[in-house]
Amino acid sequence: MPLSRRLNRALPNVLSTGLVLVVMAILFGPVLLLALFSFNDSTVISLPWEGFTTRWYSEAFNDDGAMHAIWNSVMVASIVTVASLVLGTLAAWGLTRIKFRGRPLVAGVHGAVLVVPWLIIGVAGLIFFSQIEMALSLNTIILMHIVVTFPLVVAVVSAGLIRFDPSLEEAAIDMGASQLQMMRYIVLPQIAPSLAAAAIFAFAWSFNNFEISFFTGGFEQTFPVWVYGVLRHSSNLPVVNAASTVIAMAQVILVFGLWFGMKVLTKKRGGTDRDAAEMITGAVR
């Protein structure tokens, strides 16, 4: 084969591999470097490499601000995830399986929450809570997180429910199953992967939410709000490095863990990787 032909063949592959590598480097490179430099024995984050240390980690673990903020975020995100799964699944079922008057309107409001910027929801929440004289705290953060997160669960679970044939549900009822049995044995297994995906997204949305926590938290800090505060005053940076690395690691493990669980769940009922991929894309379609 002449060289030019061979180049012509190979070029697209080289280009696509190059593109993927560059994008991955841009997306993950900075965070990996941050993790690397959290082990650097220097108070400034720069070259040259001063030697390996874990002291920033012990400092981070002894930093009240950091630990308190991380604990707050974990607690808030857990509560928000559970509440959003309950509310979101109820609404997803209602919006996809029950015909009622005003359904397009109700569905529209669920969708609207997802496109209103969090900055504006945060400001609205701040004014709202000041008007009803509810002191800003973790509670107000949780309330506002729930209202922006559960519509996401609705989107993900609805996508799962739409793909799943309702005639199976009728068949179960015809064969004498109660509503509860039908939900437990027919519906739940079918939408379990969607629920797992929704749980990943809900937890991450709440955990990573900065704007709403910033405006409706008062004196309480979640992890992103804490990092923001520290970065604004540029103090204690190696500790932020260490704490951020711990959080990033935990998020990687969480996402992979739940992803793996989801795959097992889909495989168990004869699904393929394809179905798992559709779980991700289904929600945005």
């Binding site: 910027p117 929801i121 894309t281 929600a283």
Partner: protein, 299 residues
Amino acid sequence: MGVPMADVPSVAGERPGRFSKLLRPVAFMSLPTAVLVALFLVPMGILVYFSFQYGDLTGSSGFTFSNFTDILGDPLYRKIALTTFEIATIAMIAQLIVGIPLAYVLAYKAGRFELPLLLALVLADELNPMVRIYAWRMLLGREGLINDALTSIGLIDQPIDALLFNKFSVIVVLSTSYLTYTVIPIYASMKAVDSGLFEAARDMGAGWFTTFRRVLLPLIAPGIFIALLLVYVPLFTDFAAPTLVGGTTGYMLGNVVSDLVLENGNLNAGAAMSFLMLLAAGIFSLLAYQLSRVKQGAR
């Protein structure tokens, strides 16, 4: 995500179970709807009400348009709005330039790497945005790693200041923050395209650019509009990135809102600014949504 919820297909196989027809929707929908009304619609309503109110230290208050006329008449705000538009638009275009080819590679070329790459994109989005901003700051700063590396290999004598605390760094941070939401809708719309069409186009003598512009682009247009809907509005209202890496030249509308509300304590002006941004976001979203549906209908 999941914006097109309004078009869920009509319910098939409706069957009255143990709940009566009237009670079933109430049982499922009352709680979620109540939460939406109490914590979304009411606060948004109060925000709009506040934007038409004035209040001063003497305690007098009432209806006014002055919050809006003040904002719209202020040349400084106009300048910031322009900067915001510029930053958000460049970041969006940059993401599309990277995102469309990336989605293409994912959809047609990646093979067994398709799922791991998709997962990597999801993971990139799940990483904490503050951590990401911080990582970029560490890279781009005057004493950052890029300057360090370039100085130590002798490529430059003086550290480059232009990397951080300006529009450029905001654009870098913002475009990398939302890439996932740009790529996935476009990828999803590409998955629905029959790749045999490309061969047909090639057989008929079309070059790759013609194939892209005349065959692929029209088919993935809905995905691009969804990406715009998901990404452009958050880009427009971001204020963490501009505060932390924007310096004085990368000051955006989100910072105005945050400063008005938290620094100046001027809730009415902050509400008015938020309301204006909400209007802009709403008009833009409706447009993008309509366009995505029109294109979908044409398919």
